[in-house]
Amino acid sequence: MEQIALGYPKSRNGLKRRFRVGENAILALLFISGVFSIFTTIGIVYELGKEALLFFRTPNVDLWSFLSGTQWQPHIDKFGILPLFTSTLITSLFAMLIAAPLGMGAAIYLSEYASEKVRGFLKPILEILAGIPTIVYGYFALTFMTPLLRTIFGRDVVEIYNTASAGLVMGILILPMIASMAEDALSAVPNALREAAYGLGGTKLEVALKVVVPAAISGIAAAFIVGISRAIGETMIVAVAAGAGPNFTFNPFKGAETMTGHIVRISGGDLSYDSIDYNSIFAIGLMLFFVTLTLNLISQQVVRRFREVYE
């Protein structure tokens, strides 16, 4: 009988662990890519911190007057961030005034009321709204919202550049984002809860508002926080429509510069390095970074807790 040779390849060192150069090189490359984002963060914190430190080292500038000063006039060495901060606050407030209730309403409608067909039609529209570049919204604020406000409230009351217009349009920008995040949160509420509430004789509204919304509340809160963070960091709308020049005012119909708007205007020209203007945008940037970072961290925490309830 002829023996059939089974062709098992003989490996050099049997089953022993082998060092694979290629594998390890690739792993190293992948690892570096993964860690790269850490460098970005370090870069942000380091650069912002370094230049901001230079800014605060300048004579006539100190942290307290930076945080509490009501005047931002670099040519007379006044660096109080309040005028920039209040207008950021006003625009964000206006934005949330529009986006929070409407976004919430749209989310509830889409998740609880709309039929599959209507949802299939409405959601892409919201997605398109969310995908339009912010400069387009800025254009819209300047050429549509401002004239509209001036027609309604009078040309004497509403200035050509004003925070209200910027804020309202920012609300339209944030609305689809809040609607979509809140809708995700509402849709994640198990259907069993809705059935339970219907089974107890709840009306559709009671089921939606008293069971589904409370059950999704942390997801909704996260959506709001991200919305606020987005509003604070939003730049082009305010750069185009909110006006130039720091102006410490609470009147939303007057022009005023936000933190982001200021950075854009100052750096728009040829900014010379190591000038106080150059350094000041880092100080403002640092503040912006920490505010939005805090908000984002809070929202992530809130979302995580929300997930824990159901998963």
């Binding site: 792993l27 690892f31 790269f36 409407l102 009321y113 570049p133 819209f140 559709k204 082009m236």
Partner: protein, 416 residues
């Protein structure tokens, strides 16, 4: 049974069903209204832009176009040579040769020369303009008013977004300004963004989903990426300004490679812009790619391992091919965000007025959104119209990209 006997309390319910149903109906309207606001906003926005992108325009010429007729041929129909003769006869010698120096006439096309004639000699100026809506609804009124107020002037229905608009470079004269420089600038920038962010993002995503365990370090990386996605874009601009424009100036300005572009004196180049946007979209690409990779069923990985493949072999030949449509879709969405970004580019110092096409990564740059921003900031109506036209170009670009993304998604989503 067990425990104390149960005493039934007084239980009575109010007959409130009428009120409850009424509230129910009322709130449906409120919810529906909220949703409709979104649609109205989109419609208004589009209408507003289209409304400004075409309409009646009244031109007045400083020079008389009729006087420029050569050999009985009006300037609109003249050849390049004829136009050059018109130019040389109406301009000073110095001005003519200066034009030749910036770009030799031999290299200019017939249309370029025609534009020069219009710009330098005819000098059309917009004296009045109307929006599309008015132009369509009040046509007779406008014609009558124009005949009365500007009897000499040329009344024309202009569509601001046209082939000339796409073809022409930037100009300080709104009549002949175009977006070619800006579109090319955008494409160059995005090209660099993709080259930088796509491989890096996909590799990071592979590391995080396939290789990284659940260690605290990896959790920090993951959290960090999620946070970076929420950092305002202007912060990236500041970072780009400090790192790419300033610290890495020799690299980004090209001097390191011996490139000496006379127009770029510092690091405010396409390369800097592309890298800045790259940093901006990197977390988005990573997150999207991670999702695409996670969606690949585990059975495929096990099949690979079961055949004795190494981890990378499995990832490369089983996981990635199946995840690539999702990765591409996510990347396209991230890129469309980058195309529309304005603020970081303003901060790193986009040039607002460039008349010449970018030639490489070390050129000065402008992009479409920057162009829109710059035109929007001008007080004259004509520039607003140009901005509207440029916005339409930008939206068309984004729409195309998104359509590609949707096609990709639909085409490959049947796989599992």
């Amino acid at each position: 049974m067990n425990g104390p006997s149960i005493q039934k309390p007084e239980i009575e319910f109010t007959d409130n069903i009428r009120d409850r149903n009424r509230y129910g109906r009322l709130w449906v309207y409120i919810f529906r209204f909220s949703t409709i606001i979104g649609i109205i906003a989109l419609a208004t926005l589009l209408f507003n832009i289209i409304n400004q992108s075409s309409g009646y325009v009244v031109y007045e010429a400083k020079g008389d176009p009729a006087a420029l007729t050569l050999d009985g041929v009006p300037i609109e129909e003249q050849t390049k040579d004829q136009l050059m003769r018109v130019l040389s006869s109406h301009l000073s010698k110095g001005a003519y040769s200066k034009l030749d120096r910036t770009k030799p006439f031999a290299e200019r096309s017939r249309n370029d020369v025609y534009d020069l004639v219009v710009e330098r000699i005819v000098k059309y100026e917009v004296v009045d303009s109307w929006l599309l809506w008015d132009s369509l609804t009040r046509k007779d009124e406008i014609t009558a008013a124009v005949e009365e107020e500007y009897p000499e002037a040329l009344l024309r229905f202009d569509v601001w977004i046209n082939s000339d608009f796409l073809r022409r470079p930037q100009s300080s004269n709104p009549v002949i300004a175009g977006v070619r420089t800006a579109v090319l600038g955008s494409l160059w920038t995005i090209g660099i963004t993709i080259l930088f962010a796509f491989p890096l993002g996909v590799m990071a995503a592979i590391y995080l989903t396939e290789y990284a365990g659940d260690s605290w370090a990896n959790r920090i990386i993951q959290t960090n990426i999620n946070n970076l996605a929420g950092v305002p874009s202007i912060i990236y601009g500041i970072l780009g300004l400090a790192i790419f424009v300033r610290a890495l100036e020799p690299l980004t300005s090209g001097t390191l490679f011996g490139v000496t572009d006379p127009t770029s004196a510092n690091g405010r180049t396409i390369l800097s812009a592309g890298l800045t946007l790259g940093l901006l979209v990197l977390p988005l690409i990573i997150i999207n790619a991670q999702e695409a990779i996670r969606a690949v069923p585990n059975s495929l990985r096990h099949a690979g391992y079961g055949l004795g493949a190494t981890k990378w072999q499995t990832v490369w030949s089983h996981v990635l091919p199946n995840a690539i449509p999702g990765i591409l879709t996510g990347t396209i969405l991230a890129i469309s965000r980058a195309i529309g970004e304005t603020a970081p580019l303003v901060v790193i110092g986009a040039s607002t007025v460039i008349y010449f096409d970018p030639e490489g990564p070390f050129s000065k740059f402008t992009t479409l959104p920057i162009q829109i921003y710059q035109w929007t900031s001008r007080p004259q109506d004509e520039f607003r119209f140009l901005a509207a036209a440029a916005i339409l170009v930008l939206l068309a670009l984004l729409l195309t990209l998104n359509a590609v993304a949707v096609l990709l998604r639909n085409r490959y989503s049947r796989r599992y």
